[in-house]
């Protein structure tokens, strides 16, 4: 098939930064603080100090952002958190 002589083809590349996704843990009245610290250390590899600060943030503020980054990894982390029965979700970073 011949190309129409009047057709112009323009090619180009466009790149934009992906909006990161936040992994959010919400407070609940059941999970024990010591357990939550342990799970944050296990899933994210955080040291005990960072895991404790984040746990207290969840407890006192009602929620905390545990991690931000690409969506696929954020989904993986939320699934891990839910497997450990922690109330967690993902949201687009503002």
């Amino acid at each position: 098939m011949m190309e129409h002589p009047d057709t112009l083809t323009r090619t180009g590349e466009e790149t934009s930064l992906d909006v990161p996704w936040n992994v959010v843990v919400h407070d609940d009245p059941v999970n024990l603080i010591r357990y939550v610290v342990l799970i944050f250390m296990k899933i994210f590899g955080y040291d005990v100090k960072k895991a404790t600060i984040l746990t207290l943030q969840v407890h006192q503020l009602g929620r905390a952002i545990l991690w931000s980054g690409e969506r696929e990894k954020a989904e993986f982390y939320v699934q891990q958190l839910q497997t450990h029965q922690l109330k967690s979700s993902l949201e687009k970073a503002a």
Partner: protein, 157 residues
């Protein structure tokens, strides 16, 4: 009932009579006692903008299977211990290798009790003022919490 850490890094729970075994058995019924199971409740936290529909289709069934497997394993271990003790005094062993299904089961039970009875919304609960059903649920929830604290302290370190 008595509970103590073992030299192997586990926990031993000694039931003293049939009522202790009944209390341990309740963990399974409590965990399954909610209209919406835990997997569905966790799935509901993911809103539509974050892919909640896909989450319910692909992730929630895996969560449900994981939670049910833990309950099945713990239920079988309790029944086996009751069988060996012939319903009387006898031990129940929680090894470090099996600790997560145990912790998971007690946690599922406590989450379900809270979901159903909403004890956390009342400050300074007076047992005397509760109905027998709520009294029993609160006592079981506190018992499960005590065992979880022992698991965290001695087994999940």
């Amino acid at each position: 009932m008595k509970a103590m850490p073992t030299l192997e890094g586990g926990l031993r729970i000694d039931a003293e009579d049939a009522s202790d075994w009944e209390l341990l058995r309740c963990v399974i019924g409590d965990a399954q006692g909610c209209e919406h199971d835990l997997a569905s409740r966790l799935g509901a936290v993911i809103d539509e903008a974050a892919g909640g529909l896909d989450w319910n289709e692909y992730v929630v069934p895996d969560l449900r299977e994981e939670f049910n497997d833990a309950l099945a394993q713990v239920g079988a271990a309790i029944e086996s211990a009751i069988f060996h003790a012939e319903g009387g005094p006898g031990p129940l062993w929680i090894t470090p290798e099996d600790v997560f299904p145990w912790y998971s089961s007690f946690n599922q039970a406590r989450l379900a009790i809270e979901e159903h009875f909403k004890f956390s919304s009342t400050l300074n609960i007076d047992l005397e003022t509760l109905t027998p059903e709520r009294q029993a649920a609160l006592i079981r929830s506190e018992f499960y919490s005590d065992i979880q604290n022992l698991l965290l302290k001695y087994v999940m370190r």
